[in-house]
Symmetry: C2
Subunit: 388 residues, 2 copies
């Protein structure tokens, strides 16, 4: 084929692809959630270089603005990957071969923490509970006292189950044992209080596409002074160069020496999403989510459905609703998507087929939107044979 | 502080941050480069979920469209991180403890490959040359025959030096030795031919913000059938869960089972950037870059400056220009940025202070833009004491 012929065939091949026209979706799943128009506008602003003084300022603003949601006066930074990248950064940087790593295991993401820690040669010990349950303060303390780990990890808001785990006793017991406490805050940051400093968390990671209502692509982290000391004292090299927090911290906040090329547009978006939150006020935002959660639960129970997690341990932004007997949850989800453009998620692992996972967060967390969702959900369940 | 008082202080704190208004930059550095308006438009389209049928289609389109730039009929996929994440994925998946890993070392990115391979417990052997030089076919064959590595890695287009390394002899010798060949194509994909299949590359990774003219944030990869077999036969777990290519390949192309939440907006942007390229025609695009490169070099030499890399081994899209005696390259760069909004980069490592790194790629690769750059560059050099 000559170059000209090949160009022709390539021109033709471009014609096989339609223009990008994403369908309108109401994102009532566990994330990604809806995005504020200002954040989309920020995404489309012209990029500058990753070492440009303007971009250094954007990174600095993001780090500053993140402190409020995390509830910390300490260090924050952003990993150039999604929430799972933050998890891997947390594990890779605080595990050396043989490090005793204790996991509070009550859902999918604690299993993922386990898997990552094993791959990094940690000596993993697990305290297991059924998916959806949480750990009491006494149980947490007793486990950590008995196991004497070097690192303790738990999932603050478990996306797979809808359960919120208080970190107070876990972190205190970890510190008593001389251990660091890692908290998965992927589903909590921006939607419910994290209280990093007050809880005594040492390492928290999150994502952009849930409580922060930004598209996915970055993973914000908070790191305590104790954890920073731990990092500096570390001698065994971090297996992952890309996730090496010392190098990322240096690029982001100290020397601004090149590490990798940060995703400029995503930082623009995250900065704008954090400004939208700051303008609303984080306390007001949390309260809005709590209020909508109550409306949601009331509506769900009025349909005769039940919430999977006991009231005291629910995540305000992410609800797990039991699938009623005789209803095929996959069909409900497909019909909701096809007929109403509404995305929700199903359960997986031990909860496969047993729960719907329904997020009410960010721009969707208004009473009107909850009522809209409940109406469509009810209609769809009826169409799939559930008599209310 | 009461909740209301705190909200007030947070509202005030939002006021400390100005609106996002990035300065206008002409990105003549090694990347990120300028972005087509259609790509910015794609970035700001409403997101759908990462398991939405529409998004699965977008991922599939991206994989399909990537084949042309890579020059492969085989597997392509996209890592949810920047180019360095692609490098880490390549190393982490094809190294097991003790794997003999041969690096052709003639610049910064081969040093980074070395560093990553060591962190993954490879037994690294290096063939070193000064930054800017390349390896002949005989040298490449002789090194691989002597060392008998399991994996061979080289940098196709070395961003730190401007040198283009032919992979033909390296890949052939690697295959003769039963080894896999990894090629860093971060600076070549979309700008100059990669010819993955024809060269015999097994694993190539790239980025979005150079030859593809998309913002940074994703790392496209191409993987040969031999490399896929290698992956399937691997028994030692990949240290990195986030970069585990078997899991990513399964999510992206086979079962679409959840692995991580892909950066939806960045995939939209990459799809659009690839469509822009397909519409131009990849051969025409390469030719446009070659043509502009010639105009650039002619202008540079007319100023009495010299190109760092010999003519036969230059990357068409990324030029290294010697800093003339008595000129402070950092001052030149600062003045160019401040007065003309033009970003270029300096050298680092052994080339610190010795070269300018000047990219002419994507939307900037037109004769008019090159002339605009040359005029501003000349004016700036004069202002910094260089008499032409």
């Amino acid at each position: 084929m000559t170059a000209i012929e090949q160009d022709k065939s390539q021109e033709n091949s471009a014609l096989h692809f339609s223009a990008l026209e994403p369908p309108r979706r109401y994102l009532f799943g566990p994330g990604p959630t809806m995005v504020h128009p200002r954040v989309y506008e920020a995404l489309s602003k012209p990029i500058v270089g990753h070492l440009d003084p303007y971009f250094i300022q954007v990174m600095g603003d993001v780090q500053q603005l993140l402190k409020t949601g995390f509830g910390t006066s300490g260090a924050t930074l952003v990993i150039s990957g999604t929430g799972s990248a933050g998890m891997e950064a947390a594990v890779a940087n605080f595990v050396e071969p043989g490090t005793k790593f204790a996991v509070f295991a009550n859902g999918y993401f604690s299993d993922r923490l386990t898997e990552m820690a094993k791959r990094h040669d940690a000596n993993v010990v697990r305290f297991e509970k059924p998916w959806g349950e949480t750990f009491t303060e006494d149980e947490a303390r007793e486990f950590i006292r008995r196991e004497k780990p070097k690192v303790v990890a738990y999932v603050h808001a478990e996306t797979s189950t809808g359960a919120l785990q208080s970190g107070q006793a876990i972190c205190a017991a970890a510190h008593d044992a001389g251990a660091l406490a890692i908290a998965d805050c992927v589903t909590s940051l921006g939607g419910v209080p994290v209280e990093f400093d007050q809880t005594g968390i040492d390492v928290a990671y999150s994502c952009t596409q849930k409580g922060l209502s930004c598209p996915p692509g970055l993973s914000p982290m908070a790191i305590s002074a104790r954890a920073m000391d731990w990092l500096r004292a570390r001698t065994f090299p971090v297996r992952s160069w890309y996730f090496d927090l010392k190098l990322i911290y240096d690029y982001s906040t100290v020397s601004h020496r090149y590490h990798h090329t940060a995703p400029i547009s995503m930082f623009y978006a995250l900065r704008e999403a954090l400004l939208v939150i700051a303008e609303e006020g984080i306390e007001k935002r949390w309260e809005r989510h709590r209020r909508c959660h109550k409306v949601f639960v009331k509506g769900i129970e009025a349909m005769g459905l039940h919430m999977h997690v006991p009231e005291a341990h629910r995540i305000a932004t992410l609800n797990t609703v039991g699938v009623p007997k005789g209803v095929d949850e996959a069909k409900v989800r497909k019909r909701l998507l096809d007929e109403a453009g509404i995305e929700i998620a199903g359960g997986f692992g031990p909860l496969a087929g047993k729960v719907f996972r329904i997020g009410v967060m960010g721009p969707l967390a208004t009473e009107d939107n909850v009522q809209f969702f409940l109406k469509e959900f009810k209609r769809t369940l009826s169409a799939e044979g559930y008599s209310i």
